[in-house]
Amino acid sequence: MKSGWVPNVILRAASLLAPREHRAEWVREWQSELWYVPRRGSTRFCLGAFRDALWIRRERPRAAERSGMYLESPLHCLTFLSVLASAGLAMAAWLPAPRLAGMPAHFRLRDLPAACMAMALLSGLMLPALRMVMGPHHHAMPRPGKLRRGVFLALKLALVHPIILCGFLIQNRLAPVAPITNLIVTGAWIWALRWILLDQRQRCPVCLRLLTDSVRIGTASQTLFEWYGAESVCSRGHGLLHSAESSASYSSEPQWLRLDPSWDSLFVESAKERR
């Protein structure tokens, strides 16, 4: 049955939400189903594609897990961000500054810390809102590592701002008055802050390495009084993180389960295999 152009446009738009690796199969399935839908209800039928695409995106392994090989260690993560920040600072010093009254034509190196500081202050305002949107994450953390975790978070925040500053300068250079590019860079800023929080949440609270080997536990279609979610493990054997997939009064926050030294032998072998 031939459907109109509107349902096909909706499907194409929704397909952008589906992960790239599943997109072709996803579009094929929806288009084959659309063929059987009466024309009158086809638009409504296709609107459900957005939810389906979002579901697939949510269910696939997280990007951080896939990139964990490179950024698993906190040192690697900070080195990676430092390289990007240095490149960002170099570009920021080279690119023309925004045309504002009283500003020099180029950022001078001594202006950069002030610009980054101003951005950091704005980030400080955005972070609590982002944390609220991302949901609670106050699992009982071991006290000794709190300072280290705080320093790691602060360093990540400090290193991300030169990169975003560079983005703003490039945007200002390419399209100084286009509001859409402003929105894109602001969106990238929020995305970067979200990534920082997400990355922090996916790290072992003891050694700050990214938690790995995430496995699903339970079955999502059996939700009545059943816990289901994901369990990740620290590759050094410090503990396990249980994260519920759906929030309930008894499982709204992730649970950190500390492993005692009797588990060490298991992780020593695993660490050798990784090397």
Partner: protein, 105 residues
């Protein structure tokens, strides 16, 4: 898998529809009255949980009928067991999707 199954009502309805021969996403929508944005994710979830499995129809069969190939769903053994348990839990499920509406797979 079959012991202690507690399917949500929506999942049970979809499982019942598939179990009674409504093997395609759109026919499940038509018989349950659920929106497409609920049915397709639920079908994927049931498949992930091993209660149903999906297959693409052969291209040659679809070409012969001058239509695109469809993805169809079938109950697995754990799915059948889960459906039995759900029918006891939700007796009205049996009224949904009577078996005489079976379609060719």
């Amino acid at each position: 898998m079959a012991d202690g199954l507690r399917l949500s009502h929506t999942s049970a309805m979809i499982l019942q529809a598939v179990g009674t021969g409504h093997l395609y996403g759109y026919t499940v929508i038509a018989v349950t009255g659920l929106p497409s944005g609920t049915v397709y994710p639920a079908l994927r979830r049931l498949e992930t949980d091993g209660l149903i499995r999906s297959h693409w129809e052969k291209q040659s069969a679809a070409d012969a009928a001058l239509r695109p190939p469809r993805k169809y769903y079938k109950l697995t053994r754990p799915g059948e067991a889960a459906l039995d348990v759900s029918r006891q839990r939700y007796p009205l499920l049996a009224k949904l999707a009577p078996s005489e509406e079976l379609e060719d797979a």
